[in-house]
Amino acid sequence: MSERLDDDERLIEALRLTGDPPRAWIEAAALIPATLGDLASIERVVASEQFRSRFRESPESAMADAGLPATPALMAALRAEFA
């Protein structure tokens, strides 16, 4: 229970933030495991020093060599991971 929500203004502001995104976004996110493959493989690749240094030199080639799909979301996630 949030004490802050006793206040109508705060309650309505919170209410405005509860909307779901377009259905297509949710459906695309649901496909992430199918696109990226099983978790253990991803974790192995991400933990590999060789992959990290390859990725820093040439992200697309590193992804291709590792058999990872070069989706914008995965590229951005890996850049953040290795920053």
């Binding site: 229970m1 209410l15 976004w25 649901a30 495991p33 990226l36 914008p72 951005a76 996630a77 991971e81």
Partner: protein, 181 residues
């Protein structure tokens, strides 16, 4: 939620879909409502948040850690995106990163409200969702629900009172107001 994290780690696609479904509103609320990203940037950021979540499932132990973790990652993804956009337009503006922390509290409130909303009768819930979430006008709501436009304001007000009641009911009677309207 029942051990969704563990089920996701084991490759259960239904559990993954449930995680997305139950946090999509949180992520969208932060990206669009709190950080004011464009629809296009929000869509990219939305996919990146859940991609990062998938990659980091091994770090999570309990379902209850999910909302906080997802909110934090959403903040970081939004910040990265805004920095990138600033570099693209060669903006010299300083980014006020501290202002990105405040929405967390708002989103926790939003999650509580979302749960409370689901407990309301359909009619009241629909009224609140149409007006506050989907930003529909009185006339649109009146037309689509076939009710007089003149009654919309009072219906919304009653629905807000009901929603507020959901929170008040968790308080001791001595702390509740005698009338909610």
């Amino acid at each position: 939620m029942e051990n969704l994290v563990i089920r996701c780690r084991a490759g259960d696609r239904e559990a993954w879909a449930a995680v997305i479904q139950s946090h999509a509103g949180l992520v969208n609320g932060l990206l669009r409502g709190a950080y004011r990203l464009s629809p296009h940037d929000s869509e990219d950021a939305f996919q990146e948040v859940f991609t990062r979540l998938y990659m980091r499932l091994g770090d999570l132990r309990e379902d209850r850690a999910l909302p906080g973790w997802i909110a934090q990652v959403t903040r970081n993804v939004a910040l990265d995106l805004i920095r990138r956009r600033q570099r693209e337009v060669a903006s010299g503006d300083e980014l006020d990163e501290a202002s990105f922390d405040e929405p967390h509290e708002r989103v926790l409130d939003a999650m509580s409200v979302r749960q409370a909303l689901s407990r309301l009768p359909n009619q009241q819930r629909e009224m609140l969702e149409r007006f506050f979430v989907q930003d529909q006008s009185y006339s649109t709501i009146a037309n689509e629900l076939s009710i007089p436009a003149g009654t919309i304001a009072s219906r919304i007000s009653r629905a807000v009172a009901l929603l507020r009641n959901e929170f008040m009911e968790e308080k001791p009677a001595s702390e509740r107001p005698s009338q909610y309207e």
